[in-house]
């Protein structure tokens, strides 16, 4: 990222959506450790083009997301590249907490008594943001859960890694196309934290450095190179 143009803190249980242009960067920091940031992407030009986790994983022969990986749309293009990652593993298959997960773990959402400390869940947070754009639950694809890791064994048994993200863990995305970013900071659906998590997440926005010919993410695998070519075709003449 070039200079930081804007910094903000998103409290736990919060949500936001914003359009980021090709050539901008978003840096996400887990301020206190133990955060979860659910995130999905749509083309800001045509919301039918959206983040596709299976294409992202199989295209790069990976199960985890880290520096070097690109977040693919379902149209063969890259929304964003993970240009920096201090943590080394983020997951994209567990989906979001539903109201019943949160109620069972920490008690139901209750604005009357808790006000902004209410127990929001990831699914509802996404539905709220999506509705602002005329999008519905049908438009919610598999999301990224930044700062969380799930590990599998030889039989496919899966568990959330406890204490995976420590204080000040940080990941930076560089946007390769104009993107609608929708995010929440609600708990991971497999979280067994004793209390509803209250840690903050910091977001920094700025312009990205131009993409060099030997860019790490673009060249991380042959597939990423072709995806970048698709982006170049998409922006031909722009």
């Amino acid at each position: 990222m070039q200079e930081v143009a804007y910094t903000t803190e998103i409290p736990a249980g919060g949500h936001w959506s914003l359009r980021l242009h090709r050539g901008t960067s978003l840096r996400i920091t887990d301020v206190d450790g133990g955060a979860n940031v659910g995130m999905v992407f749509f083309s800001s030009e045509n919301s039918l083009e959206r983040y596709n986790a299976p294409d992202t994983l199989k295209g790069q022969h990976t199960f985890k997301l880290t520096k070097g990986n690109c977040l693919y749309s379902d149209m063969g293009r890259v929304f964003a590249s993970i240009v920096e990652d201090s943590l080394g593993w983020h997951e994209t298959l567990c989906g979001n907490s539903h109201a019943e997960h949160v109620t069972q773990q920490w008690g139901k959402r209750d604005y009357q008594n808790n006000q902004n400390a209410w127990h929001q869940n990831g699914t509802d947070a996404f539905l709220i943001e999506l509705s602002k754009y005329g999008l519905t639950r049908a438009d919610l694809p598999a999301n990224v859960n930044w700062f969380n890791k799930v590990q599998t064994d030889a039989n496919g048994q899966m568990a959330l890694a406890e204490g995976h993200s420590t204080k000040d863990s940080q990941v930076e995305l560089r946007f390769e196309m104009d993107t609608l970013v929708v995010l929440h900071t609600c708990p991971h659906p497999l979280s067994s934290a004793a209390e509803y998590p209250i840690g903050q997440v910091q977001l920094e926005l700025g312009l990205a450095e131009p993409v060099a010919e030997d860019d790490y993410c673009k060249n991380w695998c042959e597939e990423n190179k072709r995806a970048f070519q698709n982006n170049d075709l998409y922006y031909l003449g722009v």
Binding site: N52, A53, D55, G76, L93, E100, T136, A138, G156
Partner: protein, 212 residues
């Protein structure tokens, strides 16, 4: 877990052979059972499920995987919707493992995975686009086409967090069978992919049976 079915295809109320490259769309109502038979072995059957009466409620890979704490599907697996509700149960499986992560091929992802110049090779997503165009009566639109199951496909995960496409563990005559817990619509693409071993480089027909 390998589990044989007590059902006999001779008594099925419905059956249809689905050629490679074709789609299959059909209702499977609560209480009915469907079997997909891998006729010649190692054929990926990319499958989506919808609530028959409201396709905005659909099979959710994320909710299914998370709630069963396992990335693979076999007998005993409960397929869940995006409302986290049980939708179908796999009641028989002679293959032993089915994939939830690989998704379906598409002409667009083929350009990334193989070559920009392979954009015109047939792919599962195109079959689904034709299905929804030809069958508006199901009310399914592009945004409803989400993350499918790949029956008969084997996609192991490594300890370092990598993903590999292995040779299939399925074989001629293997099948998977599921019972509907609510009224559903089943949408299958019999995968035409020629660029990787998911179909053993030789896409072949599958057969579908329904017992009411």
């Amino acid at each position: 877990m390998i589990t044989e079915s007590p059902l006999n295809t001779a008594n099925a109320d419905f059956s249809e052979v689905v050629d490679a490259g074709d789609y299959f769309i059909y209702p499977l109502n609560k209480g009915e059972t469907m079997r997909i038979l891998d006729l010649e072995g190692n054929q990926a059957a990319d499958t989506l499920f919808f609530n028959l009466h409201d396709p905005s409620e659909r099979y959710s890979a994320m909710d299914t995987i998370r709630e069963q704490r396992n990335v693979y599907l076999t007998s005993g697996s409960i397929l869940r919707t995006n409302l986290n509700k049980p939708m179908l149960e796999i009641v028989a499986d002679t293959c032993g493992r089915h994939d939830t992560l690989g998704g379906a091929c598409a002409t667009e992802s083929n350009t990334v995975r193989y070559s920009l110049e392979k954009r015109c090779m047939h792919a599962c997503r195109d079959s689904w686009m034709l299905a929804i165009a030809e069958h508006p009566e199901y009310g399914i639109q592009k945004q409803d086409i989400g993350h499918n199951i790949n029956f008969f496909m084997n996609v192991p995960i490594t300890e370092e967090g990598g993903l590999t496409f292995e040779d299939g563990i399925s074989g001629a005559g293997k099948y998977v069978e599921f019972a509907a817990l609510l009224d559903t619509c089943v949408l299958i693409s019999n995968c035409p992919q020629l660029n990787n071993p998911c179909n053993g480089y030789n896409p072949t027909p599958v057969e579908v049976f329904i017992w009411s």
